[in-house]
Amino acid sequence: MLSGYGVYQEEHQAFRRMVREVIAKELRPFAREWEAAGEFPRSLFTRFGELGFFGLKYPEAYGGTNAGELYEAVLLEELGRCGSGGVAAGLGAQFTIATGPIHLYGTDEQKRRFLAPAIRGQKIGALGITEPDAGSDVAGIQTTARRDGTHYVVNGAKTYITNGVRADFVVLAVKTDPSAGQRGLSLLIVEKGTPGFTVAKKLDKLGWRASDTAELLFEDCRVPAENLLGEPGQGFAQILGNFQWERLSLALGALGAAEEVLETTIEYVKQRRAFGQTVSAFQVVRHRLAEMATDLEAARQLTYHALRLHVGGQYAIAQTSMAKKVATEMCCRITDQALQLHGGAGYMKEFDIERHWRDARLGPIGGGTSEIMNEIIAKQLGL
């Protein structure tokens, strides 16, 4: 039986088995094909909507199941094992970063217009924070939204936006008061097709190749004022509020991916022969795998510690940042060592390891780099 590590109950593990079945049948067999195509079918969004995967922590009133964040944590871990970081990222962005702020800070009207269709998978969402000259330095954002009667007029550019090309709406970080620093920040929902909103380009990437990552441009883009989340100037706190779950989601995905790669590698070394015996018979290989498994287990425990604090209602900013850094860096180490253990085969596209290796590299960068995580941790230490 799957162990719950003191975090997950029997029903979470039952959900995990169901998610595994879905992924084994409907995602993993196509990972390579979608990687080559540079995108995955849009129908996966509606499929995930049908399965209820986009509404696990959202209220029934908007089509969710209100099952809770632990179910979403299970889904994130298992998506990490789907064989494609890009698919996991595109689908994951929908329920973690894109809809999270609408659920937390939106009005009933905004939730009916954006959250409900996103839960059904009929609308694709994206979160637009990073700019060519600002990322984790959220207060330094340059995109402005000037109030003009019943509308905001948005000007600026966003980059590295997951789901940006296909998104039906973007939750956009804007300066409603450019002179007020972080107090001038707001979140504004911009719909696809709004005049002045264009996708400048689809970005080419090292990994996560099946996900769409875009540069977005806003030129005198008029957005109805009722699309603002909360009050003007609340954006900074809203963004920080959802950062916790985003970082946990990256840590959880890294655990799943590392687990998948470790299992694949163990199978490989048991079959591959060299010098008259299986590679797994060499002590150096056995010990390397033992160390990899230990590395994974340590990162898992820290991540689950942060997860427990988070679902227990604590604003565990230091532990979450630590978990994000440790788990994503662990995943890089594991995929790198796994590639090495595969030898020449690991470098070939016929095997999945090279894709895992490229996908994992995003972990210590996306959602705040490891260096930013260290800054956050240092601040919590009173430095």
Binding site: E11, R17, M18, L51, A67, Y71, E267
Partner: protein
Amino acid sequence: MKILVTAKRVEDPESKIKVKPDGTGIVQEGLKYKINPFDEIAVEEGLRLVAKHGGEVVVVSIGGKEVHEQLRHALAMGAHKAVWVNHTGPLDQMGVAGLLQKVVEKEKPDLVILGKQSIDDDQNQVGQYLAEWLGWGQATFASKAESFDSENEKNKVPALVVGADNKTVRVVREVDGGLATVECQLPAVVTTDLRLNQPRYASLPGIMKAKSKPIEELIPAGLGVDVTPKLTVTKMSAPPARKAGIKVPDVATLVEKLKTEAKVI
């Protein structure tokens, strides 16, 4: 109507099965388990019939506490209640059929649907024993019928149809060289073949509801069944490893080898 279905716990077909060096069984470490795929088809068929005719699906499994995982899976798919026959230790097909017979006598279902066999030891006997001992009709290998030979039945017909009076069941069976249709008086025993249906995923609301559905515990002694196996496995061995192929220089050599070595022509 009341339908009893089975949910045997078996090794996950995705797991790599290894025979123990001494041949007494298979290596259990690191194995994953799931519901017997044929039983999962039985659960699905039971749920579809109940959706059409009303009633309830009762799922039964025999084994230690670990079979709760398979019972909960069937409950999460939509079964209404579960019966757990708490038994650890060896059991042969007659033991299983004997225990199921007692569960049937207790639950009094109109129809019992089981997998035609379990994918671990592939016996394909329990359904037949059960029907015989109950004195019920049986229709084995229920399969999806795409078409029939007779003109008026050319269109797709469901493989398992309960008569309007709830007294009969018509079953399309997969047999060598085609399909056979049989009709049984209810109560009856039906076993499922692979192509009967595509089982649903357990849904999230189903998983959450399954938590509060009842699992009744029974023990073989309490049912008055002696499960001492009449059949023992003396030795297990892995099939011989496939030998590497060879390349032949020309067709003549190929034909020669097919004749003299492979002896297939």
